[in-house]
Symmetry: C2
Subunit: 156 residues, 2 copies
């Protein structure tokens, strides 16, 4: 399936998700791992569109999300930088573009290694909590589950 | 907000809905009214995108769906014919294009006045029941609520 940039922007405006997960990880330097992720979830009937996105960007994975839902997913930092650059060149039309900008902000912090410091992680958690307005309860759950806010000490 | 055709196709692939409602209406010739509708629902934060769609097509209404959800909606038959023609020229990439084709089929039947006959209405109800696969329970509810299947006699 051959896709063009404007279609991809429109589809991601509808179906895309820029997500910054923060997970407890005892092997990580400060006990938490930041996992930025770009994903597009579809019913399995539209698997070919997900593969079309993979071909369009030239990277990423198509894998099962849950049950009949599949996703095109990008997690590798170098590839996420390309995703962020694409949406800088081709801005989203919906308010999701604010998520894309915040996502780029998190990527920039990570590029400087700030996610490996407590202050940097707290800043990333703050930005992440402002993302995915339509999906905030889920993020709040995740933050709560991982106890990022309680475990990372508040600034004095 | 200026939109281009490919973005519109991508966005509708994600967020659009081709819907054929069938409602009981005592003033209609055979007691039921067929209401085909094209709609795109968004959170009110993206009202400007809905107005962008209205400008793009040059017709339709932006109105409240429920609570914080607003919709761009087209119900006028002449305008729906234009919508159908647009998506024939610019096919959807997801399986929603099958809905768009079925929608065009219903429009063609209506153009011939077949929705005013019992046989035609039954055919339209059959096509409508095959649409919106991702949303079938809602359609099933509607059909049940309107008792189309029980009130329109089955063919011998």
């Amino acid at each position: 399936m051959k896709l063009n940039p404007d279609w991809v922007v429109g589809f991601v405006d509808g179906e895309g998700c820029f997500f910054v997960g923060i997970q407890r990880n005892p092997t990580a330097k400060i006990g938490f791992q930041v996992i930025p992720e770009f994903r597009v979830v579809q019913h399995k009937r539209d698997l070919d569109v997900l593969h079309g996105l993979k071909s369009f960007f030239g990277f990423g994975r198509v894998c099962q999300n849950h049950d009949d839902r599949w996703e095109y997913r990008v997690r590798r930092l170098d590839q996420l930088h390309e995703i962020a650059a694409f949406f800088e060149r081709h801005p989203l039309k919906t308010k999701k573009r604010i998520d894309a900008v915040k996502f780029s902000d998190v990527m920039a912090l990570m590029k400087e290694g700030r996610h490996l410091t407590e202050i940097g992680l707290r800043e990333i958690a703050r930005i992440a909590s402002l993302m995915n307005a339509g999906n905030r309860p889920r993020l709040a759950e995740l933050l709560d589950e991982d106890r990022v806010q309680s475990d990372v000490k508040a600034p004095e």
